[in-house]
């Protein structure tokens, strides 16, 4: 049942206009960070984007439980998003997605 860990993440940027923010780009950014830090096996993390909001630049995604610490570490070590200094602020983590459902409004559920 609870094989996944859910992250609620907000992207903070110096100049938000300069970047393209899509689920695909976000996913590749995180997976690149994982791969550069934990090698090939880390890069093969199974990551699903549950919710995505362009307006608030906020994402809910999930990873298998055993990748939780790695993903969180990699996420906090990301310093740039498309060459712009950024900060992925982890707003919350949970084992169930229900905790976040209310927070993000007007988002289309999307899976990559």
């Amino acid at each position: 049942m609870s094989d996944y860990y859910y992250f609620d993440v907000k992207l903070k940027l110096r100049n938000p206009e300069a970047i393209i923010f899509t689920p695909i780009f976000f996913r590749s950014c995180v997976l690149n960070a994982l791969e550069s830090f934990f090698g090939d096996l880390g890069g093969k993390t199974n990551m699903d984007i549950v919710k995505f909001c362009d307006k608030q630049q906020r994402i809910v995604f999930r990873v298998p439980e055993e990748f939780f610490e790695r993903t969180r570490t990699a996420l906090s070590l990301i310093g740039h998003y498309q060459e712009v200094p950024c900060h992925f602020q982890v707003i919350g983590t949970s084992k169930t997605a229900l905790d976040f459902d209310k927070d993000i409004s007007a988002t289309a559920a999307r899976r990559c």
Binding site: S36, E69, T73, L75, S76, G79, P85, C86, H87
Partner: protein
């Protein structure tokens, strides 16, 4: 009692640009830090040794306006990081008046000998290292143990690890070194962030501790409890004596109304003896703290 609230970030480099400084402080507030230290570094080895007796250390930057602005949100401390090579520094430190104006004193040794000195005799609170060039230093096991016994803390900054992957390698190497030599005892994590995007939330930092070879508990303590310990130790070093405030909540009633006067006579007889005993007790009680202070 000096109040400090978690979480702590004991290394925010001082920035002349007020706007930048405010941006960093605002971000710190948002992330949930309550006590921070603004860091100012000072290179001792560059100073000419000819001047004796004069003040060697700089006065702290004036941050009163920032303190006022963030009065209810942040407690801002001041810290000096002394980069040094030779061990003659101890004398300069003991006579310096400016040094007492800083809340925290950190040492950043440049050589192995200086690092050993830093662990064993340095009168500061924190031992830090330069993430760019510091990876060549390696702490010796015995010195590490002495440092732990003296209540010194080793600092690891995480911002350089975010900025550059080469630094990251060096920092992990350094942290693993601490882990091998001293089981990662007495380690604190602080930011050292140049701009606000290099800051991370306290829980993220605690989680980052995993890659630095700390356990979950040590990771949490590194941003919380250990920093409090440093602060208290630094305060006691700075003030020289520990001051205690006792606050009463109304009058204290000693006597019981039910007891008769007969017993009072007995008590009178005991009175003088009691007072002597109390005096003796006081004397014995006072002695140990003085001893401890001398050691510290």
């Amino acid at each position: 009692m000096e109040q400090t609230k978690p979480f702590f970030d004991f290394c925010v480099p001082f920035n002349k640009d007020d706007k930048q400084m405010r941006a960093i402080l605002n971000e710190l507030v948002e992330l949930g830090y309550k006590t921070i230290a603004i860091d100012q570094s000072f290179d001792h080895s560059k100073k000419d040794a000819g001047k004796r007796g004069s003040e060697m250390f700089p006065a702290p930057h004036s941050i009163e306006h920032l303190r006022k602005e963030f009065a209810d949100k942040l407690r801002i401390l001041q810290r000096i990081t002394i980069l040094y090579v030779d061990v003659n520094l101890s004398h300069a430190m003991s006579v310096s008046y400016n040094l007492r104006k800083f809340n925290l004193i950190a040492g950043q040794p440049k050589t192995d000998a200086a690092l050993t000195h830093c662990c064993t005799t340095f009168t500061g609170d924190i031992i830090t290292f330069d993430p760019v060039a510091g990876s060549r230093l390696s702490v010796n096991r015995k010195a590490y143990q002495v440092a732990v016994r003296r209540g010194m803390f080793f600092e690891i900054k995480y911002a350089p690890a975010i900025a550059d992957s080469n630094n990251r390698k060096d920092m992990i190497k350094m942290a693993q070194n601490y882990s091998i030599k001293g089981k990662s005892k007495n380690i604190i994590l602080s930011s050292g962030a140049e701009h606000e995007f290099q800051l991370r939330g306290p829980y993220d930092v605690a989680n980052l501790a995993f890659i630095f070879g700390l356990s979950e508990d040590q990771g949490k303590n590194a941003v919380d409890r250990f920093c409090r310990q440093i602060f208290l130790r630094a305060e006691s070093r700075r003030l020289g004596k520990t001051i205690m405030f006792v606050k009463g909540n109304g009058p204290i009633v000693f006597s019981d109304d039910d007891q008769s006067g007969a017993e009072d006579d007995e008590m009178d007889g005991l009175g003088t003896e009691m007072s002597k005993d109390v005096q003796n007790e006081e004397q014995t009680e006072i002695k140990p703290p003085i001893k401890r202070l001398k050691v510290a």
